[in-house]
């Protein structure tokens, strides 16, 4: 089906055209939002913060104490981080994030969520059977590793601080940043 014959596409276009006629927004305003989220707001922001926390113990502590305040100097765009809580993975604890009701997500740090994050299967099953869902993502946890599931809401957005790789001290910062994947910051990937 071409875009212009898709019923949802037509409805979206109809809404946009009416809002423009009413002077509530312009097509350029919509373009601006889309461009921001497609090109400027994304997991690279979170990766930079995580890589810095791996190297800088004082920053890491500040991030864990008050995520919102610690990232404020970065002036990330995107919203949905009114209260950011950063949860730390350790050899004995694995954290994973969900929004059981819809799709709340720390946009400013990670961009918009992936498809599976919004899917009913992930939203319900990660709470009921987290180890099994994590295994489907390729995360095999030893029985003595505690799993903590964090449910995002309008008030609180969570970000997982993955464990630092062993070679954290010798890697150039660019490479360190590139190691930090979006999935690791949601908690469905664990590379240490």
């Amino acid at each position: 089906m071409t875009e212009e014959r898709n019923p949802a596409a037509i409805r979206a276009e109809a809404i946009e055209s009416l809002l423009i006629e009413k002077g509530l927004m312009t097509a350029a305003d919509v373009d601006d939002v889309v461009e921001r989220y497609n090109e400027r707001i994304g997991p690279l922001n979170g990766a930079r913060v995580v890589a810095r926390a791996w190297r800088d113990p004082a920053f890491k502590q500040a991030l864990l104490d008050d995520g919102t305040a610690a990232i404020a100097p970065y002036e990330f765009e995107g919203g949905q981080t009114e209260k950011l809580v950063v949860v730390e993975n350790t050899p004995r604890v694995h954290n994973v994030v969900v929004c059981t009701l819809c799709s709340c997500y720390p946009w400013a740090m990670l961009g918009l969520p992936p498809r599976w994050y919004k899917d009913p299967a992930y939203r319900s099953r990660i709470v009921r059977e987290p180890r099994r869902v994590l295994a489907e993502f390729g995360v095999q946890l030893e029985p003595d590793v505690e799993v903590r599931v964090w449910d995002s809401s309008a008030e609180v957005r969570y970000l997982v601080l993955p464990q630092a790789p062993d070679d954290v001290a010798v890697l150039p910062e660019d490479e360190l940043i590139a190691r930090v994947t979006r999935d690791a910051m949601i908690g469905v990937e664990r590379f240490v």
Partner: protein, 132 residues
């Protein structure tokens, strides 16, 4: 402001860590409208979120997820269809749009000939298909 950061000489877009943000252009438009109106104060984002929870919750209540794989999309769940429905519902409830005018506009757009000239200037980047 956020700057563009270079990784290994290659500008790394945010989606470097994942899939494209939108599966189809209309999904980006729907998101841009919903978010843009909240940024302009037409409604609070939390009000949109509450409507989205309603729409998604209605779907969730009718689906059994225990046999589903987290890596396979749940059948018939189309997030942006719910997103768009939430947007429409909120705009009509707030009196921003009248449901009648929306229905009329949808019909008018449905009646356009294939490959019509689009009304909006932003549509210039769409590709029109005439090969069917």
């Amino acid at each position: 402001m956020t700057k563009t950061y270079e990784l290994g000489g290659v500008a790394a877009p945010p989606m470097v860590n994942g899939e494209l943000v939108f599966d189809a252009p209309w999904q980006g438009r729907a998101f841009g409208i919903a978010r843009g109106l909240a940024e302009r104060g037409v409604y609070a984002w939390d009000d949109f979120r509450a409507e989205l929870i309603e729409q998604i919750g209605a779907f969730d209540r009718g689906v059994e997820t225990s046999g589903l794989d987290s890596n396979v999309p749940t059948p018939h769940f189309h997030y942006y269809d719910h997103f768009l429905r939430a947007l429409e519902t909120l705009l009509v409830a707030r009196g921003v749009l009248a449901s009648g005018e929306l229905v009329e506009r949808v019909h008018a757009f449905e009646d356009r000939p294939e490959g019509h000239d689009h009304i909006h200037s932003h549509e210039h980047d769409h590709h029109h298909h005439h090969d069917h």
